[in-house]
């Protein structure tokens, strides 16, 4: 049987909760589960902050998210409304520059509906 999983991340990155979410995805992949997408909502949107600065000897959550996207083609959907409420910006131009890290897709809540509908299981972390 082909199992599919979607993850909704609502907790911020500067905590051990993010490490657990990433490890859970890696375990799912190792178990042959297809992770069809991650949706970042509420304080979870801070996971997509390009400038998030964590000392180099600490867990680099952003790099881990990007690796999951790159190596396993897991879409990382960012709720842009929730992100803008927390200081992130998708603007480009002379006086502005997107503060959203590569590998994240700017999305709306419609994407949450789609992931929720498609996945066999959805877990909020």
């Amino acid at each position: 049987m082909h199992n599919t999983l979607a993850l909704v991340v609502t907790t911020p990155p500067n905590s051990n909760l993010t490490t657990t979410a990433i490890n859970l995805i890696k375990s799912a992949l190792a178990s042959g589960v297809e992770v069809i997408g991650v949706f970042f909502y509420q304080d979870g949107v801070l996971n997509a902050a390009k400038h998030l600065s964590i000392p180099s000897d600490e867990y680099q959550s952003l790099a881990h998210w990007q690796q999951l996207n790159h190596d396993h083609h897991i879409p990382l959907h960012l709720c842009i409304t929730a992100a803008e409420k927390r200081g992130l910006s998708d603007e480009h131009g002379e006086h502005a520059q997107s503060t959203i890290a590569q590998s994240f897709t700017v999305s709306g809540l419609g994407e949450l509906v789609e992931l929720t509908s498609k996945a066999q299981r959805v877990v909020q972390l």
Partner: protein, 96 residues
């Protein structure tokens, strides 16, 4: 239903909400700071009652916190068993 608890029930109402909502046949998974609930009186009382409620905790998360349990009614599991639990249950709630 699988109840995922990621916070301490001593500082917050996460554990209480979970126990108030759980029905026979449900499972409780203690992850992250949820492992602190291994010594919480409300959880111990439930375990003592031989309810049809299964309680699991992520072994690694408890070890890192130096939290120990000698309850036979709770099971230490790893992350791969967490994935199994997720697919064994129809749905889940994450309490915080």
């Amino acid at each position: 239903m699988l109840h995922i608890i990621r916070h301490s029930g001593f500082n917050s109402n996460a554990l209480t909400l979970c126990l108030d909502t759980a029905l026979a046949g449900d499972a409780i998974l203690l992850m992250d700071d949820g492992c602190y609930n291994l010594t919480h009186p409300s959880l111990l009382a439930k375990c003592g009652k031989q309810t049809e409620l299964k309680v699991y905790f992520v072994d690694l998360h408890a070890k890192a916190r130096a939290i120990h349990t000698n309850q036979a009614a709770v099971s230490a599991i790893d992350m791969s068993a967490v994935i199994t639990l997720i697919f064994q249950h129809e749905n889940s709630i994450t309490w915080s």
